[in-house]
Symmetry: C2
Subunit: 132 residues, 2 copies
């Protein structure tokens, strides 16, 4: 079990950036717009694991809907796997609902898929790998 | 910014244990009852960072109240600091609400305190150190 990053849904990424600077003296090492997901992301090194801030750029992005429903806060955990395609089928075979028809390209050059939190103790889990 | 662990509030720790075994082949390396917090905890090594499952043992524990309000899922992020007592005052000085009058003893032999998620982008943050 290798945690790759933690995703946090935020309403105003600049405000959270200022907060993390004030608390930890931390700065993002990378910023990326993922147009397909309708998000701006900032990545932080939290000592062996990444923290990814996500701000919605459109009202129909998943992050926008999440914040409307739950408010801002912890959004997902992403775990590294060797090949998302293999794990997509394996995890589906465990009776866990996976989202989408197949893995897709996500932020940070990764191939990703998600499992539905209903089947994973309330935690939205992302699975990611470098290769599809 | 050094993430020490991620806390997940679960309704039935044995069920989540079985889930993590099925998905990752993972087993907890430690189990601990923290009577003062009214929780059973299981710790997992997620590759440089810990995942802490928390199940309530009494209806008035914070985990029990969290699950009633939000359902099970991601609960808090814990960050390592050098001395919680120093950071307790420093973070309070930033205008961030800290919980309690002083750091207290938590799971895993740590001294800890929490900051209110209202002031930290919706994320319940724990700060912990070996020494008070």
């Amino acid at each position: 079990m290798k945690l790759e990053h933690i995703g946090i849904a935020v309403a105003d990424i600049e405000s959270t950036k200022n907060l993390l600077k004030a608390i930890f003296g931390a700065e993002p090492y990378k910023q990326e717009v993922v147009a397909s997901e309708g998000v701006i992301t900032h990545f932080y090194d939290a000592g062996g694991v990444k923290i990814e801030l996500l701000e919605a750029t459109s009202t129909d992005s998943a992050i926008s809907k999440f914040i409307l429903k739950h408010g801002q806060g912890l959004h997902h955990l992403a775990f590294s796997v060797d090949h998302v395609s293999t794990d997509f089928e394996r995890i589906k075979g465990l009776g866990i609902q996976v989202l989408g028809e197949a893995p897709k390209q996500g932020a940070d050059g990764k191939w990703i898929f998600f499992a539905h939190p209903r089947d994973t103790s309330g935690v939205l889990m992302e699975f990611c790998s470098e290769q599809k």
